[in-house]
């Protein structure tokens, strides 16, 4: 448990240092029409580049090992098909992200800033998460939606 806490802390520090924890900065990146007017903030492209460079290299090294240091096996997604959920879900998520400037990591980290706005957003986000899992887990949905990969720490 201490391990996960420290890893969460490093993740949160990364969000803060990179500027991802500031919704105004996120929205200024997503505002591509501002490229012409000169107020576009390209910083978040550097966040993604930095994160992927480290993760791509690190995963290559780590996944050569037979198993994680403190676990029986690597829990990796196995699905490769493109179903409606992997398009509809991100499409809906993107609208909420564009409205608020918050995605899940920065929103939870924002709780530590002690603002009411973060509390309201995270409460609504958890309600939305619960609803999605509730609908996906209904027996009547089993023929319509394909089961989710059981990943996530």
């Amino acid at each position: 448990m201490l391990l996960q806490f420290i890893i969460g802390l490093v993740f949160g520090l990364g969000l803060i240092v990179s500027g991802m924890s500031n919704p105004a900065k996120v929205l200024n990146f997503l505002d591509f029409a501002a490229i012409r007017s000169g107020t576009w903030d390209a910083s978040l492209a550097f966040v993604m580049a930095g994160a992927i460079a480290v993760t791509f290299t690190g995963f290559k090294l780590v996944l050569r090992r037979p198993q994680p240091l403190f676990g029986e096996k690597f829990h990796l997604p196995t699905r490769e098909d493109i179903d409606t959920r992997v398009i509809a879900g991100p499409a809906i998520f993107g609208i909420g992200w564009g409205l608020s400037g918050f995605c899940p990591g920065p929103a939870i980290t924002a709780l530590g800033f002690g603002t009411a706005a973060a509390v309201i957003f995270v409460a609504a986000m958890l309600a939305g998460m619960w609803l999605a899992r509730f609908i996906a887990n209904r027996p009547s949905m089993s023929g319509i939606v394909t089961p989710a990969d059981r990943v996530g720490a």
Binding site: M1, L2, Q4, F5, I7, G8, L9, V10, G12, L13, L15, G19, M20, S21, N22, A24, L27, N28, L30, D31, F32, T39, S43, F46, V47, M48, A49, V54, T55, G58, F59, V62, R65, G71, E72, F74, P77, V86, I87, A88, G89, P90, F93, G94, I95, G96, W97, G98, L99, C103, P104, I108, F113, F121, M125, G128, M129, A132, G152, A153
Partner: protein
């Protein structure tokens, strides 16, 4: 809309820290660092026995601003323009969509792209597109 300054070095360094956390979680626990997957599984129904570890990860995220405050003496800049109704609607959409699509910016955007997953590439392109379109409509229409 408040202007924000271009910070390529800090942003790349922060991104590297996010990557470090993702690599550590895989190396030590064998899990994908996807925040929507971790947070949503704090709610019932429970499919495995990883609750305590997930709660600890989330607690680490929440503790990060406090650590910055302890070290530097001030909280980092954060500007939230959205009012109450937008926060509620935005939160619902972010929560529902990220779980419906099995991942968000971290799970699909960082970990999935790093594994060269086509599903994650489709997901990432989709949420970037609808997010950018939403910002365009909110800021530049009418």
């Amino acid at each position: 809309m408040p202007a924000t300054s271009f910070t390529p070095v800090a942003s790349a360094a922060g991104g590297a820290l996010i990557g470090l956390a993702a690599v550590l979680l895989m190396a030590l626990k064998g899990r994908i660092a996807g925040v929507s997957g971790i947070a949503s599984r704090l709610l019932p129904p429970y499919e495995d026995r990883e609750f305590a570890g997930r709660l600890a990860f989330v607690a680490g995220l929440v503790a990060a601003p406090g650590l910055v405050w302890l070290v530097s003496g001030r909280l980092p800049e954060q500007t939230i323009e959205a009012g109450m109704p937008v926060l509620v609607v935005g939160g619902l959409l972010v929560g529902f969509g990220s779980v419906w699509g099995n991942g968000c910016t971290s799970g699909h955007g960082v970990c999935g792209l790093s594994r060269l997953s086509v599903r994650s590439l489709v997901a990432t392109v989709t949420f970037m597109a609808t997010a950018a379109l939403t910002v365009f409509i909110v800021r530049h229409w009418g």
